[in-house]
């Protein structure tokens, strides 16, 4: 068994930042990650990192924009902490050598981005995430932090107290992909989940194949509620054939959207009379789909994004990467012709419920990055707000886990936080098919940390053994079915029957998952096994998204409901929470916090 003070699961931007912070607090940190750190999907981020650096700008404005963007579903303490810390974090990155794009006077450039009242997006060409990821990995190398790379975390080792808030997380169980070894990792001070987004729940996504939502599912099954999962951001500009993202930077620099009739529809059809193409993502995504549905789409599928008028020099200078993407993945030359784009799954606003210190309701368990939901993005994330989130909340989680001195969190977590029960249609079945083996740890007698980890190791060994030895269906088909139904029914436009259909399909997929097996018998680099286990996580996450979407009967931010076309502040200024509850999930709500240092009055969100 390995033992460290702090274990960071996942080595994307959030994980790396957390590890560095914990290391700076003097903790013995180790990272466990299924991909080598530089392969993490943070590297795909293109556009930029928001931070109020200009003297005329201020964190208050950043907080205000974020809150407005969230459609007033962000929690004020989370939003304010974020806007305040983002500035230092960006400067910190610069001090670590990040190759930001520069102004003539040598200062870091900032550009306008959708939904921002001031140009405050710092960037490094159109490959900001790549540089952020590599810069931080370099710091990890510099500090000599232990990295267990290509180790797949199978599950958390959590004590099995009945009340979730009494539970403690003592480590994780991981599978060495190269050798097939299963081992326990004990964490004396804390486990930080930073496993990234769940894009693979959908079939048209900007996310990586490895973004299977493992962290959400593991925390969920350990009893930590998932918050606001219905809020999924669909990015308005992804390439139709692959889902590869065309950065918002293109529109930030002045790129224009046209429909088949070559109308600049954002203005001409009145979707966003002030901001046009730079309106927030949900607005633009819906506008595009509305155009397509009205028969004004090109090939009835997509619209055009044109940047030719920016001129070759400016494009090469700031958006060169976009040219390569359009060329390599769609065969289109952006200097010569407009690029085809359509909305695709991009970002999960919701996630593992935690407070401003990244702490969840289970003692010793933290979440950071896209996996987490401090409730910063609320119902809709602004472009360029995720990368600073990785930094701000990654650092805070790392520091807190390592015992750093921090302010008590204002956000309450766990089922006992001020809450209101929710109800779902009786006919809908969710949760485990067979609840008998869905509680957190198999051995109720396990008391000390070591034996909890050990018993979890045993459990995972058995699970892997069973998958390898039994005969059954290939997980890929189960995964395909989930992705298809999610894309068909839980997409940008959501209808009640569709959502119910999705839940039914997921249920059926769950039942079929009972019979999956791994046909590759090898212990060496068995990706068949890993993907099979990931598919289980996809099921849990997909279900939580669909449940939230069905429960929330209003139209807020990224969540659109056919029958409920208005934002309903009266009834829905609250977060959706779904707790696994040992296999029979429970839905409940908690109120949004709209007041911290400042007070945020819900206003109409118009762009």
């Amino acid at each position: 068994m390995h033992e460290h003070d702090v274990l960071v699961v996942g080595a994307g931007g959030a994980g790396l930042r957390a590890a560095i912070a914990a290391h700076e607090e003097g903790a013995d940190v180790a990272m466990v990650t299924k991909l080598h750190p530089v392969r993490s999907h943070t590297g795909a981020a293109e556009g930029g990192i928001n931070a109020a650096l200009h003297p005329e700008d201020s964190w208050e404005l950043h907080a205000y924009d974020t809150m407005k963007g969230s459609d007033y579903l962000g929690d004020a303490p989370a939003v304010e902490t974020f806007a305040q810390d983002a500035r230092d974090e960006v400067i910190q990155l610069e001090h670590w050598g990040m190759p930001f794009s520069r102004e003539e006077d040598g200062t870091v450039s900032q550009r306008p981005f959708g939904g921002l009242s001031h140009p405050r997006t710092t960037y490094a060409g159109a490959e900001t995430g790549h540089h952020l990821l590599h810069t931080m990995y370099e710091q990890v190398v510099k500090r000599g932090i232990t990295v267990y790379e290509e180790w797949y975390v199978l599950d958390l080792a959590v004590s099995d107290h009945d009340d979730v808030e009494d539970r403690e997380c003592h480590g994780v169980v991981a599978y060495d992909i190269a050798s097939g070894e299963i081992e326990g990792f004990r964490a004396n001070d804390g486990v930080i989940l930073a496993t990234g987004g769940p894009g693979q729940v959908f079939d048209h996504t900007t996310n990586a194949v490895a973004n299977t939502g493992d962290g959400y599912a593991m925390a969920y099954r350990a009893g930590v509620p998932l918050e606001d999962m219905e809020f999924v951001q669909f990015h308005p500009t992804t390439l139709p054939s692959t889902g590869v993202l065309i950065s918002e930077g293109v529109r930030g620099e002045g790129g224009i959207l046209y429909n088949e009739d070559e109308e600049r529809f954002m203005f001409e059809h009145g979707y966003a009379n002030n901001e046009g193409e730079l309106a927030s993502r949900d607005v633009v995504s819906r506008a595009e789909l509305t155009e397509v549905n009205a028969g004004r789409g090109i090939e009835d599928e997509y619209v055009h994004l044109d940047m030719r008028h920016l001129g070759e020099e400016r494009i090469l200078d700031r958006l060169e990467n976009i040219l390569h993407l359009a060329e390599d993945f769609e065969g289109v030359d952006g200097l010569d012709e407009p690029m085809p784009v359509k909305p695709g799954q991009h970002y999960q606003m919701g996630g593992v419920e935690c407070d401003e210190n990244g702490h969840t309701c289970v003692d010793g368990l933290y979440a950071a990055g896209e996996t987490a939901c401090v409730s910063l993005h609320g119902a809709n994330r602004l472009g360029g707000n995720a990368l600073p989130e990785l930094l701000v909340y990654g650092a805070r989680a790392g520091k807190h886990a390592a015992g750093g001195d921090m302010k008590e969190a204002e956000i309450q977590t766990g089922p006992s936080a001020e809450s209101e029960a929710g109800d779902l249609d009786e006919s809908i079945q969710i949760g485990a098919v067979d609840t008998s083996d869905e509680s957190v740890a198999a051995d109720g007698a396990a008391v000390d940390a070591k034996s909890i980890v050990e018993s979890e190791v045993e459990r995972q060994r058995e699970r892997v053994e069973t998958l390898l030895e039994s005969e059954g269906i290939n997980h890929a088909h189960v995964r395909d079915d989930v992705q298809e139904t999610m894309t068909a029914n839980v997409n940008v436009f959501r209808r009640e029957e569709g959502l119910k259909q999705a839940l039914e399909d997921i249920r059926e997929a769950r039942e079929r998952y009972q019979h999956v097996a791994v046909s590759d018998p090898s212990r060496t680099y068995n990706t068949d096994l890993i993907h099979t286990i990931e598919t289980r996580n996809i099921l849990d996450v997909a279900e939580s998204i669909a449940v939230g979407a069905l429960a929330r009967e209003e139209f807020r931010g990224a969540h659109w409901r056919e029958q409920y076309q208005y934002r309903d502040d009266e009834n829905w200024l609250k977060h959706t929470l779904l707790a696994w509850n040992d296999g029979t999930p429970r839905l409940y709500y908690k109120p949004v916090l709209l007041e911290a240092e400042k007070e945020y009055e819900p206003k109409e969100r118009s762009y």
Binding site: A178, S179, R523, T524
Partner: protein
């Protein structure tokens, strides 16, 4: 990791058809360089007859020059030397950072010029055997 498989270098040279100009240039330069060193040693060995008196020297040299093989080998030596020089110049430019984008073209140019020079010199080399 239980065991890994080392495919070795054979696999690599088995793919010579896929080699790019830069790689060919490297191989040729290496080959020609080795031939030139080899020649340098033999050359001095042959010239060493000079220490054995003028008759021996003259006879050895002229005797060798009468052989067709030697003449043909000399043409070979010329081509090797010319290529090595031209590609050597190309490499010197590469070292100075000039024309890196056109390194493939300059390699082809070395080949063509070498061929031209060699063909043009064949009469001189083979005359009077």
């Amino acid at each position: 990791m239980s065991e890994t498989y080392d495919r070795g270098a054979v696999e690599d040279f088995g793919r010579w058809r896929e080699f790019k100009p830069g790689m060919w240039a490297w191989i040729f330069h290496k080959f020609t360089g080795w031939v030139l060193v080899g020649y340098l040693f033999t050359h001095i060995a042959v010239l060493s007859t000079a220490t054995g008196g003028d008759v021996l020297y003259t006879n050895t040299l002229q005797g060798l020059e009468e052989l067709l093989v030697v003449r043909v080998l000399e043409v070979g030596l010329l081509s090797v030397a010319v290529f090595h020089i031209l590609n050597g110049v190309r490499l010197l430019f590469v070292d100075l950072g000039f024309g890196l984008e056109n390194q493939d073209k300059s390699f082809y140019a070395s080949l063509v010029v070498t061929a031209a020079i060699v063909v043009a010199s064949v009469p001189t080399f083979l005359s009077g055997v």
